[in-house]
Amino acid sequence: MKLSGARIFLECLKREGVDVVFGLPGGAVLPIYDALYDFAGLKHILVRQEAAAGHAAEGYSRTTGKVGVALVTSGPAATNLVTALQDAYMDSIPIVAFTGQVPTHLIGNDAFQEADNVGITRPCTKHNFLVKDGSELGTIVKEAFHIASTGRPGPVHVDLPKDVLVKEWEFHYPERVHLRSYNPTYEGHPGQIKKAAKAMLRAKRPVLYVGGGVISSDAYRELLKLAELTQIPVTTTLMGLGAFPSEHPLSLDMLGMHGTYYANMAVYNSDCLIAVGARFDDRVTGKVEFFAPNAEIIHVDIDPSSISKNIQVHIPIVGDARRVLAKLIEAIKEEVRDDVPSIVREARKQWHAQIAEWKARFPLRYDWDDEVIKPQYVMQEISNLTRGEALIVTGVGQHQMWAAQYYRFKYPRHWCTSGGLGTMGYGLPTALGVQAAHPDMLVVNIDGDGSFVMNSQELATCFESRLPVKTVIINNGYHGMVRQWQEIIYKERYCSIDLSASPDFVKLAEAYGCVGIRATKPSEVVPALEKAFVTPGPVVVDMMVDREEDVFPMVPAGGANKDMILDRPGKAVKERAAKSQTGF
C-alpha cells in the first residue's frame, strides 16, 4: 500500500497509541497538517509557542507514563523546542518530538526556515533521526518510541524533510524493532542484590534516598513495601516527590539544598544509603565529601553511567527500579526468614528516635503574619483543599521549592516540575499537557510571577482547547530566588530582580478569556482558592505574597548539607519563636 509520507506519519502515531499531539504548524510540516485535516482518531492541541508543545508533551508523559508527542515545523520552531528537549533529557522524560525540515535537496543550502535540526538537538536528546528515505519512516518512528520509552527514558527527535512527507512510499510499520546496539539491562545482578540485602539488614542507621526513577519505573508499591519491611526511613529528591507518601511515618520529605533538616541530617549520619533511581545531583549532595560520608552506598539505577559518576558507590545494581526492589524484598525476606533479628529492631528504634528528635527540633517552619500572605501558607491551603490529590505542576524558583516542601504528596505521577534543567516558564504549558491527558482532574499550576510570564501566552491554548488549568501565581514582584541569593550570598546587592512592572494578572487572564482572581490578605487565600477550584475553565489566581520571604532551610551552593541555614541570618530568635508556624 502506497501512502504519502505525511499519511504514513499519522498512521504510525495511531498505531503507537498516540491520542493527542501538541503542535504548531508551519511551512515544512504543512503536508502533515493537510493529512490531519481529515484524519480521524488523533487530537491536535495548538500551542502558541513551540517550547510549549514540548513541555505539554512532558506533562502528558509524566502523569500518564506514556510517551508524549510534539510536532512543530523547521528552523525557528525547532530551535524553540530545544529547551523542552533538554528539560526532558535532564529529567528522563519520554517524549518524541517531530520537526519539519526543508526538502532534502535543499538541506545545507541556507533555505528559508532551515536549521541543522539534528545537529542542534543531538546533545539534548537520547537519540535523534533525520529521515532521508520515506520507506524507512515507519521503522524510524517505531524506533523513536522504543528508544524514548525503554531503558533510562528520554526525549527522541525525528527530523522530517518536506519532500519525504509529500512523496508516496510503501507503508510498513514493524510490530517490534530490535537494535543490536541498544539493550537496556532490566534485571539486577542477583549477587549484588543479595549483598545489598545483607548491607541493609546490617545497617544501624540506614536511609532510602529515592528519585524520579522510582516514578518512571512505577516502583512505588515495591518501595513502600521495602521501607515498611525494613523500617528504613525514606527521603525523596525533587523529582521523586510522590514516590513515597508524605504523611507516612517513615517519610523524611525532600533532601538537598532546600530539603528538610531531618532528611539531610539523616543522610549525613547514615551508615547505609540506598539510592534508588536517583543520580546524586549537586543540588542533592551539596559538597560531595560531606554527603553520607560514613555510609556504605547502594545504588540502584538503570543507567550505568549514573553509577559512581559523582560519588563512589559500594554496591552498584544496574537495573529497573521496580524489578530490583521486588528482588530485594525477596532477598531480605530470605535473609531474615521469619523474623527480623532483635539487634536490628533495637538499632532501628534508636535511629527512629534520633530522627524524631531532629524532626521535633527543626521542622519546616515559617513566620505567620496576619496582614501579609505567606507563600508557605498558600501551599498548605492548596494541599488541604485538594487533599493531596490534585495534579500539581510548578514553574521554577522559590514557589517551586515551597510547593515541594509544603504540599503533602499522596500519589506518584501527580507532580510535574522542572528538576534538572530548572526551566522557568515550564508551569503553564506543562499543566495544559497534564490537563489534556486528564480532562476530569484538578490540575493546579503553582507558578511564580517571573516564571509565569515566560509562557503566559499559553492561556490562549487553555482557553481555546478547553483545558481548565488553575494557575496560582505566587506574586512577590521579584525574581524571588535570585533575590534570595543576592540577599544571602551577595550581601544584599540587589541587581535586576524587581518585577513590580509586571502586568495586572487578573486583567491578563480576562484578556485571554480566562477568569482572574486576586488575593492580598491571608483571610482571602482560602476563598480565592476555593473559588478557583470550582470555577469551570482556566483560572488565574494572583496571590500577592510577602515580597521578601525566603526559602529555608537552605544549603548555599557548594556547601555541606549538614550546615544548613535554617532561618534568615541575624534574625532574633525570640521574635521567631513568638510567631512560629510549623509545617506538618
Binding site: 543531538r122 539491562t185 549477587g191 550505568p304 553511567s305 559512581s308 563512589q312 544496574v318
Partner: protein
C-alpha cells in the same frame, strides 16, 4: 569520585553503526564533557554496516570509566573495548615531505632504511616518506629527520588491535560484568552489572 589515579593514555576501540552522524555523536560526547581526544581514526570493518573507531584519550581511571560508559550510552555504539588493559598492537602511519638537498640525500635515505620507511615520491629537492610504527617509532623518525627540514607532515592517528587468536572486543564489557552475566556464569564481584543504554 575521589580515588582517581594519575592520568594516562588509553587506547579505546569502539564498534559503531556505519551511519551518518555517528562521528559527531562520539566527538560531541567528548567535547560536551571537556575530555580531550588525542587521536581518532575511523574505518569500515569486515561487516560494511559496522565501523571501528580507535580513540586515544588521556585521563584518570574514573574519567576513562565514565568515557566508556558514556560511549556505551550512545544508541549507535555497539561495543567498546579499552585495549590499554591488555596485550595489543598499535600502529600509526605518517607521510612527510623532507628537504633532500644533494648533500643530505644519502643521510636521509639511511634513516629511512633504518626505520624501514619508504620513499613514495621524489623531487630534486625533496623526498616524500611513508613510515608506520607505534608512537615512539614515529616520534623517533620525525625527530631524526627534523634537522634536514620537514616541509609537511601528516599522521593518521593510531589504530590498534588485540594480540592473540580471539577477537577481544567484548573485553571491556566483561570487565564491567555484563558479558559474564549474559553467559549465565555470574561473576562474584562485578563493578557494574550491565549496561542500560
Amino acid at each position: 569520585m575521589q580515588n582517581g589515579t594519575e592520568p594516562r593514555k588509553h587506547t579505546i576501540a569502539v564498534l559503531v553503526e556505519n551511519r551518518f552522524g555517528v562521528l559527531s555523536r562520539v566527538a560531541g560526547l567528548f567535547s560536551a564533557r571537556g575530555y580531550n581526544i588525542e587521536s581518532l581514526s575511523v574505518g569500515e570493518t569486515l561487516d560494511p554496516t559496522v565501523s571501528r573507531m580507535t580513540l586515544v584519550v588521556r585521563g584518570a581511571e574514573f574519567v576513562i570509566e565514565q568515557v566508556i560508559k558514556q560511549l556505551h550510552k550512545l544508541i549507535d555504539v555497539i561495543k567498546v573495548t579499552d585495549l590499554t588493559e591488555e596485550n595489543h598492537v598499535e600502529r600509526e602511519l605518517v607521510l612527510m615531505k623532507v628537504n633532500a638537498e644533494p648533500a643530505n640525500r644519502a643521510e636521509v635515505l639511511r634513516t629511512v632504511d633504518i626505520f624501514r620507511a619508504k620513499v613514495v615520491d621524489v623531487t630534486p629537492t625533496t623526498f616524500t616518506l611513508e613510515a608506520t610504527g607505534d608512537e615512539q617509532k614515529i616520534d623517533a623518525i620525525v625527530e631524526l629527520l627534523r634537522p634536514f627540514g620537514i616541509q609537511e607532515l601528516v599522521r593518521t592517528g593510531k589504530v590498534a588491535i588485540a594480540r592473540g587468536s580471539k577477537a577481544r572486543v567484548r573485553r571491556s564489557e566483561e570487565k564491567l560484568g555484563k558479558a559474564k552475566a549474559a553467559d549465565g556464569a555470574l561473576s562474584q564481584d562485578p563493578r557494574i552489572v550491565g549496561f542500560a543504554d
